[in-house]
């Protein structure tokens, strides 16, 4: 066992982990963080997606011991001032059905929008291709991300006009 330090959702958490424990296991079983879901255990489905140093990763494929000292953000840790614009858009569009894939998709889409605030539909679909959803046919999920991207584009235009 080795003690690691995680910067988890803005808090410092220290925990002793075994070398073979995955980040998903440590989050769910040891730290009480339940939004990353276990859907396949082998990186196929994306339900366990978390942000590691801001990047969307599959927590079932990462050993907890590797994340010592790093910033880990789960769905619990986003939207400090209530639901983010993206989350609100998902709600408005009834984007999820059973909701089991939602935390992974919200995080994967958040990471995409941070890196590329105005993704086109192809870029959105590419970025979310590793997050499986069996219910929705993806249509409202992609539409919600596009809506935020369009709003970001609008903001950018306003900012540009303000500068000129």
């Amino acid at each position: 066992m080795k003690e690691i330090t995680l910067h988890l959702n803005g808090e410092v958490r220290r925990i002793a982990v075994a070398p073979h424990e995955t980040l998903l296991e440590v989050l769910r079983e040891r730290l009480g963080i339940t939004t990353p879901k276990s859907g396949c255990g082998r990186g196929d489905c994306g339900a366990c997606t978390v942000l590691l140093e801001g990047k969307a990763v599959r927590s079932c494929l990462i050993l907890a011991i590797e994340t010592d000292g790093q910033r880990v953000t789960t769905l619990e840790g986003i939207g400090e001032d209530g639901p983010t614009a993206l989350q609100q858009e998902f709600v408005k569009r009834n984007a999820f059905q059973c909701g089991f894939c939602a935390s992974g998709i919200v995080l994967a889409a958040s990471a995409l929008l941070k890196e590329n605030p105005q993704p086109n539909e192809g870029e959105i679909r590419e970025a979310l291709a590793g997050n499986l959803c069996r219910c929705t046919g993806y249509e409202p999920i992609v539409a919600a991300v596009r809506a935020v991207a369009r709003r970001n584009a609008g903001k950018k235009r306003v900012a540009k006009r303000a500068r000129s």
Partner: protein
């Protein structure tokens, strides 16, 4: 005209915020503290074998292990419609992956390690891995005690064989029907097994407390049905319904796979084995594939006779289903198809034989569509082929034969309202039927239109109930036991209550089920809960409304008949100035001039049972009963692009029209159309389950069993809702959850033929098969054994003979 204010509007889902914030909890998310025990099962490596001995002593001594449980501890069977499934097998295992023992330990790791130390000695038996072997003259019988199994009265198993059920439907004179035909086509179609693949695998935590009460937290579509099955199976422990409590938090997708009971009963007995401590069992993805239920594979022989004008004179439809090692639920799928395999057409002479066959493959059960996707593939493919042979328009032949309200169904009952002809016209128009799209040298485009219908398959006494109560602020709690499996059930129930009581949806909290607290619901299956539970909720809301108006009438000395509800107020038709807010009196009552109060906490209950149904038809003809409540009909049109070099298929557009009676929430109906259509297209195009020659599942994961991603969607999906009201539905509503998958496969097969002239009769229609067929090569000739098989060999060799 829709005069409703809430029903028929696209309300935001009541569970939306919970799901995007992660507040929604699923069965495996619930905390049970450090006392929680973890279980792992020991699985059979054989498809069929005698269990000679089980040695648990090494495992029991392994670190962290608290107990090892086998069939000796729990020698009981269970099943929803027929008790043919074993909590732990007794003398023999019947499929690869069957649980023969379970290890309970302090940690999941310790349980997993110790499970490998349980030594089971087997004596392998001849395994029955395809239908021909199962039905041949000297077939090895998988359930020698079949004759003694408890079952529902509408199942007809054949003792001494592998036939778990045989549904026969006979209408008119089949020989005469074929004599009258100008053209007869007969052919075989094959639909393999499929896996549900909900994103959440099955999970259960059981707690048998020190007072002897069993509570289960389960990912389930069927809390009450589970309680019922367990009350029967666990009776030897002195348990009855009152001692068993099932709590179902949010469930991460079901699609039929979480209907009835599968692994939950293992969780129940492990809890009983560990009285006083909670025990958790959580299936891996691999176990989800092989030890819950799959969709049954089917080989279907369709023989259809038609007049020159396209009118169908006779249909002989023979279906042999691979139910796997247990048919406790699958036989009812077979039954449903045996009654409805005419499709939505008026056919005077019908002979249907739907035969449920045991094999040593994983057990099968309910899957979205309940057999209808399977039989529509052959039937609709066949109809298009017949139209082409007659030189007739495939759309026209469907309109000529389309079923209409009042027509006599194959089993003698009358057809309910529904506008199939309009559905056909609307989708044909949407895909510009009749207009040839440009094809290039490497790409060809084809179109197709197919119809569908489906009825809920329910026991005649399947019922729903609802409790509704007010809170002090005028908000409501609605306690029903339909399951929110993603379809939006909670939202739709809130909308129905809101419509009656004028309380906004945002102020109605609908909770997921707890069998101790929420009202009864048979199961959330068959696309029936909007209709059935919706009726119960409406009745409960009407009762609440009557109490509200009566209370105000009594307190204010008014006539209840003059009072009505509007925007959370009681108003008076005779006095426009009168407006009493609900929140002022629905709990505390109304104060009279002398300081006394009248009224009190207002609540209501409602129930619904379709009292007109009966499953007691003649076993030889199915005539005389009224087994189905109603059908939802519709049609789909599809535009397909074929890459002639690679065989890759791309759906450019798909339009689906369904007569939903009344869309309670059009946005959620669209959700069912888009999601269901993609699930259906995946079964048609690439989901492809494979077994090794020893019965081992070769691809129990998403690397090798592909389900759709964001990159596999049709370019455009159009959802068309028709609304011919269902007379006994809440506000006229009928179900739509399953139907949206059904037309996917036949439209793909037909559009492929339209584009490039090849006809494939075995699903899935993969790029590989298409590319080979375009080069004149049959897939089965070149596939090779290493790619595994599904459940029959070469479909064209299948004889349909029963030994």
């Amino acid at each position: 005209m829709n005069t409703n204010k809430v029903v028929g509007t696209p309300s935001i889902r009541v569970d939306g915020l919970e799901k995007v914030t992660g507040a929604a909890l699923y069965a495996d998310d619930l905390p049970f503290g450090p006392g929680l025990l973890h279980a792992v099962v020991v699985e059979s490596p054989h498809a069929h074998a005698k269990i000679k001995s089980i040695n648990t002593s090494t495992a029991e001594k392994a670190p962290g292990v608290v107990r090892v449980v086998t069939g000796r501890d729990f020698p009981y069977k269970f099943g929803l419609y027929m008790q043919d499934r074993f909590i732990f097998p007794q003398d023999r295992v019947r499929f690869v992956g069957e649980q023969v023992a379970a290890v309970i330990a302090e940690t999941p790791e310790a349980a997993l390690r110790a499970a490998r130390l349980v030594k089971v000695t087997y004596e392998p038996l001849a395994a029955v891995l395809n239908l021909a072997d199962a039905l041949c003259k000297d077939a090895v019988t998988i359930h020698p005690d079949l004759a003694n199994y408890e079952r529902v009265p509408w199942f007809f198993p054949r003792a001494g064989t592998n036939i778990a059920h045989w549904r026969k439907t006979r209408k008119g004179d089949i020989e005469k029907g074929f004599r009258q035909a100008d053209y007869i086509l007969e052919d075989t179609y094959t639909v393999p097994r499929y896996a549900h693949c909900p994103m959440e695998t099955h999970a259960v935590t059981g707690w048998f407390d020190l007072s002897g009460r069993l509570t289960l937290w389960a990912s389930s579509q069927s809390p009450y049905a589970q309680r019922g099955v367990m009350a029967v199976a666990l009776k030897p422990f002195g348990l009855s319904h009152q001692d068993i409590r099932i709590i179902t938090p949010y469930v991460g997708g079901g699609f039929g796979g979480k209907a009835g009971v599968s692994m939950e009963i293992i969780g129940a007995v492990l809890a009983i084995a560990m009285k006083g401590r909670p025990v958790r069992l959580h299936w891996t993805r691999e176990q989800e594939f092989k030890n819950t239920s799959q969709r049954q594979g089917v080989v279907a022989r369709v023989k259809m006779g038609v007049k020159k004008d396209g009118r169908i004179t006779a249909l002989e439809h023979t279906l042999h289903w691979d139910a796997g090692a247990s048919a406790e639920y699958g036989a009812n799928v077979v039954n449903a198809v045996g009654l409805s395999a005419t499709g939505p057409y008026r056919i005077p002479n019908v002979k249907i034989d739907s035969v449920c066959v045991y094999t040593n493959m994983p057990p099968c059960g309910a899957y979205r569509g309940f057999g209808y996707s399977e039989f529509h593939f052959g039937l609709e493919s066949h109809l298009t082929r017949i139209a082409k042979a007659l030189g007739m328009d495939p759309v026209e032949i469907r309109k000529v034969n389309a079923i209409r309200e009042g027509d006599t169904l194959a089993y003698g009952a009358k057809m309910n309202p529904g506008n199939l002809v309009e559905a056909i016209d609307r989708v044909a128009k949407e895909i510009r039927w009749g207009r040839k799209e440009k094809s290039g040298s490497t790409r060809a485009v084809g179109k197709a239109v197919a119809c569908f219908w489906k009825a809920p398959a329910m026991p005649p006494n399947a019922s729903s109930a609802a409790y509704l109560k007010f809170n002090e602020d005028g908000s409501l709690n609605l306690a029903v036991s339909g399951m929110e499996i993603g379809q939006g059930f909670l939202t739709v129930m809130a909308q129905i209550a809101s419509e009656v009581l004028t309380v906004p949806v945002s102020k109605i909290r609908v909770e997921t089920p707890d069998t101790d607290r929420n009202a009864y619901e048979w199961q959330t299956v068959g696309s029936h809960v909007t209709w059935s539970c919706g009726n119960a909720v409406r009745a409960a809301a009407e009762e609440v409304k009557a109490k509200v108006l009566a209370t105000v009438a009594r307190a204010k000395k008014l006539k209840a008949a003059d009072l009505y509800l509007e925007a959370e107020h009681v108003k008076n038709r005779r006095d426009k100035s009168f407006a009493l807010p609900l929140r002022e009196f629905v709990i505390d009552g109304i104060m009279l001039a002398d300081g006394r109060y009248v009224g009190g906490p207002i609540h209501g209950t409602g129930m619904f049972m379709p009292e007109f149904t009966s499953a007691l038809g003649d076993p030889e003809t199915s005539q005389g009963g009224h087994p189905n409540v109603h059908y939802t009909v519709g049609a789909a049109g599809l535009v397909l692009e074929v890459d002639k070099e690679t065989g890759k298929l791309k759906v450019r557009k798909v339009a689906l029209a369904a007569d939903v009676g009344q869309a309670v929430n059009p946005d959620l109906v669209r959700g069912q159309v888009v999601g269901g259509m993609l699930q259906g297209l995946a079964t048609a195009l690439y989901e492809d389950i494979r077994y090794a020659p020893d019965g081992r599942l070769l691809n129990p994961n998403f690397t090798d069993y592909k389900i759709p991603t964001t990159l596999d969607c049709p370019d455009k999906i159009v959802s068309i809702m028709l609304e011919t009201p269902q007379p006994d539905g809440p506000f006229g509503a009928r179900g739509i959850g399953e139907h949206t998958m059904i037309p996917a496969a036949p439209t793909i097969a037909d559009a492929l033929e339209d584009a490039v002239g090849i006809r494939l009769k075995t699903l899935p229609i993969t790029a590989e098969k298409v590319a080979l067929a375009l080069n004149g090569i049959e897939y089965d000739d070149v596939k090779g054994d290493h790619l595994g098989f599904c459940f029959i060999g070469r479909p064209s060799d299948y004889s349909f003979e029963i030994g």
